[in-house]
Symmetry: C2
Subunit: 362 residues, 2 copies
C-alpha cells in the first residue's frame, strides 16, 4: 500500500553505548506523577508514596483520599523512577533460545506465580551466545530489576556468581549444586536419562545409542552432560557399560542434516536411540521417515522434554517429561523468597517421568 518514507540511516558510531541522536522526541502528553496525585488529594508526596507501598502510618481516611485521586487521575508509578530508589516489581527472564517448544511452558509457569502479585516478567533471549547473554543480564541489572531467572545459561558459574552479588539470581537447567551465590532449579537429568534407557531395555532393546549435543562451554553444569552421565550409568548397570556410544548432532544447518543422515545409514546403526532433546529427536524421526527407516520397527526413539510437538499424532514420540511449567513456578517462588531476603543458596531437584508413545514400541 504505502511504504516507508526516508530510508533510515542505521548509522552506528563507535563505542559501546554511545548515542547518536540529538533531535527531540515530539511532545507527548505530560505524565500524571506522584506530585499530581498529591496535589489533587490535598496531601503530601510522601503520603501518596506511603499509600502506594502500603507502608506503615496511614489512616483510613488518608488512604481513601489518595486511592480516590489515583483512580480519578489514572496514576501509574514510573518504574524507571522506582528503579532509582526501591523496587521495580519486575523480574528478568533470560532464555537461551525461544525455538525450543519446552520454554513456553516455563514462561507460563513463571507468569502463573507472578500474576497474583503485582510482579511482571520481562524476557530476554540470549540465543546461546555468551556475549549477548552477558549484555542482557547487565541490562536487566541496569534496569534495577528485582531478580533474574536464567534458563539454561551458557555462562560459567563464577560469572553468574559475580552477577549474583548484584542481583538475586535463580538458574534453571543449570547443574551446580555447589553454587552458594545463587539458587538452582532442575529436574534430575541423570535420573531422566536413566528412565529413558530403562524403558528401552524393558522393551527388549540392547543396542542403545545416545544422540547428544556437544557443548563447548560448561561441562557438568549443562543438562546435556547430565543426561549423558545418566545414560552411561544406566547402560553400565544393565551390563552394557563397555558399549554405550554417544553421537553428537551439530546445531548448524547443513552439517546437522549430514550427520543425522550418516547416522541413519550406518551399517551398525543401533535398534534404539535416546535423544537428549525432542527437537533433535523430531528431526531424526522426520529424516528417518524420508529415508524409509521405520519408527519404531527399525528404530525406537525416546526424546526429552515431552514438548507439545512430541504429542502430535504424526510424531508420537515417547519422551521424558520434566514439567516446564512446574519448573517455572518453583523457580519463581524461589526467586521471590530470595528477593525477600533469603541469602543461603537453595538447590532443588525435581523428578522427571516417562511419557510412553508409539516411537517406543510396547
Amino acid at each position: 500500500m504505502v511504504h516507508m518514507g526516508g530510508s533510515r540511516d542505521s548509522s552506528v558510531k563507535s563505542g559501546k553505548f554511545m548515542s547518536v541522536d540529538n533531535r527531540k522526541p515530539p511532545e507527548r502528553a505530560d505524565r500524571v506523577t506522584i506530585r499530581t496525585v498529591a496535589a489533587h488529594a490535598g496531601v503530601s508526596v510522601a503520603a501518596v508514596s506511603k499509600v502506594m507501598r502500603n507502608a506503615y502510618g496511614v489512616s483510613d481516611s488518608l488512604r481513601a483520599k489518595v486511592t480516590g485521586s489515583i483512580e480519578v487521575l489514572g496514576y501509574r508509578p514510573s518504574r524507571a523512577a522506582r528503579g532509582l530508589r526501591g523496587r521495580t516489581f519486575t523480574i528478568g527472564l533470560l532464555l537461551v533460545d525461544i525455538r525450543n517448544p519446552f520454554l513456553p511452558e516455563v514462561i507460563a509457569g513463571v507468569n502463573a506465580v507472578l500474576a497474583p502479585g503485582h510482579y511482571q516478567a520481562m524476557i530476554g533471549v540470549g540465543e546461546a551466545r555468551m556475549q549477548l547473554e552477558t549484555s542482557l543480564i547487565e541490562s536487566m541489572i541496569d534496569y534495577k530489576m528485582d531478580g533474574l531467572i536464567l534458563v539454561a545459561p551458557r555462562l560459567p558459574s563464577e560469572i553468574i556468581t559475580r552477577f549474583a552479588a548484584q542481583i538475586p539470581i535463580v538458574a534453571v537447567g543449570y547443574h551446580d549444586p555447589t553454587a552458594d551465590g545463587f539458587d538452582t532449579i532442575n529436574t534430575d537429568d541423570q535420573r531422566g536419562a536413566e528412565i529413558a534407557v530403562e524403558s528401552l531395555l524393558e522393551c527388549g532393546y540392547r543396542d542403545i545409542e545416545m544422540l547428544s549435543q556437544l557443548a563447548r562451554e560448561g561441562h557438568k553444569v549443562s543438562v546435556v552432560r547430565q543426561r549423558e552421565i545418566g545414560y552411561r550409568r544406566a547402560m553400565q548397570q544393565a551390563g552394557f557399560g563397555s558399549s554405550a556410544p554417544i553421537t553428537n548432532i551439530p546445531l548448524q544447518s547443513p552439517r546437522r542434516e549430514e550427520t543425522i543422515r550418516k547416522f541413519l545409514t550406518r551399517s551398525d546403526r543401533p535398534r534404539a536411540i535416546f535423544c537428549w532433546s525432542d527437537i533433535d529427536a523430531i528431526v531424526v524421526m522426520s529424516m528417518a521417515a524420508e529415508m524409509g527407516v521405520r519408527v519404531p520397527e527399525d528404530l525406537a526413539v525416546v526424546g526429552y522434554d515431552n514438548s507439545s510437538i512430541a504429542a502430535l499424532g504424526l510424531v508420537n514420540l515417547a519422551s521424558i517429561d520434566q514439567s516446564g511449567r512446574e519448573l517455572g513456578q518453583t523457580a519463581t517462588r524461589t526467586l521471590l523468597s530470595r528477593i525477600e531476603g533469603r541469602s543461603e543458596a537453595v538447590h532443588i531437584l525435581q523428578l522427571p517421568s516417562l511419557v510412553t508413545r508409539r516411537s517406543l514400541a510396547g
Copy 2:
C-alpha cells in the same frame, strides 16, 4: 537434593500496585556510577555524560581519559536513571503467545536490526488477554522504553492510538491502514489466502473449505479475518462464490479436538482445506493420520506461516510463507525511524508466497 526452606507466603494484599514488604535487601556491592568515572578521570560529571552520548564539544584527549576510566572501572550507565531523563535504548516487544513457532522468526528479525546499534529488546507475553496486554504495555511505558512493537495485539485501534500518544508504536499483524497514530507492518494476508486457494484450484480441487478461528475482538484488523476475506474472494473469482464454507476451530482443548474430529468424519467433508495457521493445520493432519484419513490423497491441506514444523519431513505441510524474520526487521526499522522523530504514520504491506510440499498433491 535439598528443597526450599520456609514456604513463601504469597500474600497479596489489596490494591493494584501496593508493596507488601519492608525488609531490606542484603547489601550489594556498590555501583560504579557516572560520578565514580568522573572522579577517576579527573573531569566533571557532565563531561562523562557527553562522552557517553557522543555529544558535541569533547576533545580527543578528554574522550580518551573518560573512555579509559570507563574501561578500567567497568562502568555501565544505569538504564533506570537514563529513563528518568533521556532514552533507555530499549524497545519493548509484545507477543500474543510464544507457542506459535512463527514468532521466534519475528524476534530474530528484530534482534538482527537492533544488535548493530546499542538497542535491546525486552519481550512481554500478552497471552491474547486484553488485560494482561494492557498492563504490559503500561509497564513498558513506565519503564520509559523508547518504543514498542506489538505483534498481533488484541486491543482495539483506539486504545493503541491512545498509547501511541505516549510512546512510539509499530503494530505487526494488525490491519488498520487508517491508523494515524501508529505504524502497521503486515504481509498482505488477503493475497496470501488467495494464493493458497489458487494453488489448490490449480491442483484440480474444487471443494475447498477454510478452517479458521473465531476472534471476538477486532474485526477487520485481525489477520484471521483478512485471510477469510482473501479466501472468499478467490473462491468467488473461481466461480465458487456460492459455496465458500468456513469452519471455526476453537482454541480450548477438549472442544478443539472434538470440532476437528467432527469435521474429519463429516460425510460432506471437502477434498481440500486452507488453514488460517500452521498450528491448526498440523493438529488437523495429526488427527487425520490417526483416523486413517490420508493427506493429500483424501484431504489436501495448505497452511499459513511456513513455520519450522511445517518443513519437517513427518509433516510436510504446504504453507504460505510470510517471512517473520523480514517482518521483524521492517518493523524494527520503522520503529527506529519513528523514534528518530517521524510523525506521519506508515503502513507497509509485504507480499507472501507459497511453499509447496507434499500435503498439496502435485
